[in-house]
Symmetry: C2
Subunit: 422 residues, 2 copies
């Protein structure tokens, strides 16, 4: 029997077992600081598969002093990173399979139809926080490896499975894995792309702009300077900056995306009293970073935009807004479309789905930015699930897609790492 | 000796004693819920003057169900209203002298040079929260009455001194006094006008506008609708409404005021996460009400403005912003400049200061709106102290101005109420 058939048979023959495994993983709430329970489920599975385990608590100065380190978390005790290696016989290319175990908070539980950690199944969908982002994808990775192992396919190159923490909060888990020495000839991250193939990923970073005004009684508001009005002026300039930055994008991968690198105004707070002129306003947002851009250059461009806006206003000239780069920061990914890993994945995709994959650039950053920029590992993002469901209430994943993704990934592994002659 | 001279002599002869009385009053912190200590100082003084006292805790359905009642306070126990009457011999016009005892919170104590309740005196100024707004004015009222009583001047009309609570929070104290039956042929409120004469007062009311958006990931912000952007659209329309409303004002009293009835955007809050599209924004502000306007008409005009703005936007059309009229609400005052009380005050002013008073319209509401609109009592606002100092740190009042105001008010009382022939 051909290996493709063996993999297909094993996967679809074990649909029930694989689904229960995903369900068990979703049932472990792994929001920030609570990752250990879900990691234990992963570790148990990797032990059964006979993989070489590396389990460690991240931290230490090499990590926290690294320029790409971005976290406000001070304690990682008890919530380890997990790496599990399927050692090849040698002579093949290595492949990292990276998934994050942390999930974003469930929000208001009352907005959910079922318990956010139920793993409830209905009409071929499995519900729960993290089902799509990205426990479904991580299960695809483990199913692909199990299918290969169970089919007694021996590989030349190493397969390095990673279940990392902290992706949703700046990528410290993957950075720690890179700094621990995990690099490879290629990497797949099965974030929810709806099975589109993303060789490039938009990076992003957060900013906070603080605008001063001058307080006054609302009845004599002309004696004050309204910080909300000044903030609105700045936002208009930021909107123009977004236009300008997006007009520059000519990568055909972005052809179907209305705004390739959005600048999002996510928060605005000002004022304490309806009848007082507010004397301070803060704006928080995220600016998208194109695959071919450097973070520093984008910072500079936004800072220049604010400076130019301020130059046009007497008050802002004298009271220049303060800009902070705080919190989230995701490096972009920028793999050339012609990279051999792209060919390998596309080929596997066609074999399984009988059609060509859609190749695009992702609208969000992933740990791929760290793997590629810091770890020098070429990264492609492809996985089951749709972005829209990711951070939403009633998050779900189509169970079949998890298995289809597993099949595509399994074929890619065999093709990329090579079958051993043994 | 003429009575004018007697009053003058008494007042300036008792400058030290009067100043210590003001100091003692300022030293009693009378922020909301803590009015009793300062009221006790007032009551003690009124007893010594032999006035007929009426001390009561406000409340009851007649008050709280009154259309002009505006308060979120549920317990008035222990912090009474005080009214003290100097009964006339009959046949003269009555006069209400109204001052509020409540003061706004002191804010950050560290921003004050001296303790906010020190009553510290330096260079002829007395410092402390409430010194200007409006314990200085209330002391002017009591000094005027004491000067008349000490000079053995007998009056025909009644003088009704009021020390009310709740002015800074919507006027429930003065409303309670009106409902208790206190009305008169005229009223003086010595709020800090810097000794300008205000026959008209701007009213105001608070509004809250809630604007919906649609949440989305910041990286695909085009899938969402940004509530901040929609709120900014509305604010632009509100700014135009302010222009339109102020262009209509042709009262010469407003000639020197840049924006007679300002619409102030005092607060804006939206968003929870820099990289999410915010799905709700709230704007809070106050809209000025011209002396000749009805509150209901102004509400309607703002509501129409929001409706028209929404009609021009597909999203807002489907998701109309919600408007609430909440919290603060101050009725305007609208006394004709030719009213006899104006003549009486102007005459007294000229006698004391040897110049004509400046007559203007106030940029803020006072309890005068309730006295005139609900109590049918003609009101003029004139008092020592400047608005700018009122709610500010290091609030102070020029002590001499308290005595000058007392002199003008004493002359007005004698002229308005009439001297008895006895």
């Amino acid at each position: 029997m051909e290996y493709e058939k063996k993999i297909e048979d094993w996967l679809w023959g074990n649909r029930g077992k694989g689904t229960r495994f995903l369900q068990r993983l979703v049932q472990e709430n792994s929001t920030r600081g609570l990752e250990s329970g879900a990691q234990a489920v992963i570790i148990e599975k990797c032990r059964k598969l006979g993989l070489t385990l590396d389990i460690w608590e991240i931290g230490g100065e090499e990590l926290t002093k690294h320029p790409a380190y971005c976290s406000d978390r001070t304690d990682f005790t008890g919530n380890p990173n997990v790496v599990a290696v399927l050692k090849g016989s040698g002579g093949g290319k290595s492949l990292i399979l990276n998934g994050h175990i942390d999930v974003v908070p469930e929000g208001d539980e009352n907005d959910w139809e079922h318990d956010p950690y139920s793993g409830y199944i209905e009409d071929g969908k499995l519900y729960g926080r993290g089902s799509t982002d990205m426990k479904g994808g991580s299960v695809s990775l483990l199913l692909a490896m199990e299918a290969i192992i169970s089919s007694r396919i021996k590989l030349k190159g190493d397969v390095i499975f990673q279940s990392v923490i902290e992706e949703e909060s700046g990528g410290a888990g993957t950075l720690a894995a890179v700094l621990r020495g995990y690099q490879a000839d290629g990497a797949i991250i099965p974030e929810p792309t709806n099975m589109k193939v993303f060789p490039k990923q938009q990076g992003s970073m957060w900013f906070r702009i603080t605008v001063k005004g001058r307080s006054a009684h609302g009845g004599t508001r002309y004696e004050g300077v309204n910080a909300i009005e000044k903030a609105m002026q700045l936002i208009k300039h930021l909107q123009e900056l977004e236009n300008k930055r997006n007009e520059r994008i000519d990568d055909p991968l972005y052809d179907r995306i209305p705004i390739p690198i959005p600048l999002n105004i996510g928060k605005m707070n000002s004022g304490q009293w309806p009848s007082s002129v507010p004397d301070i306003a803060t704006i928080e947002g995220r600016i998208g970073v194109a695959p071919n851009e450097q973070m520093k250059d984008v910072e500079k461009e936004l800072e220049n935009c604010v400076a130019e806006a301020s130059a046009q206003d007497e008050w802002l000239q004298k009271n220049p807004p303060a800009i902070e780069w705080f919190g989230g920061r995701w490096l972009p990914g920028n793999l050339e479309v012609e990279h051999p890993l792209m060919a390998s994945i596309s080929h596997a995709f066609e074999k399984v789905k009988n059609e060509k994959p859609i190749i695009e650039a992702s609208p969000w950053g992933t740990d791929g930015g760290i793997l590629s920029n810091i770890g020098n590992t070429p990264v492609v993002v492809i996985g089951p699930g749709v972005t829209a469901s990711a951070h939403d209430v009633n998050e779900y994943i189509h169970i079949d897609e998890v298995f289809t993704a597993a099949e595509i990934i399994a074929h890619t592994i065999v093709d990329w790492c090579g079958m051993s002659d043994e």
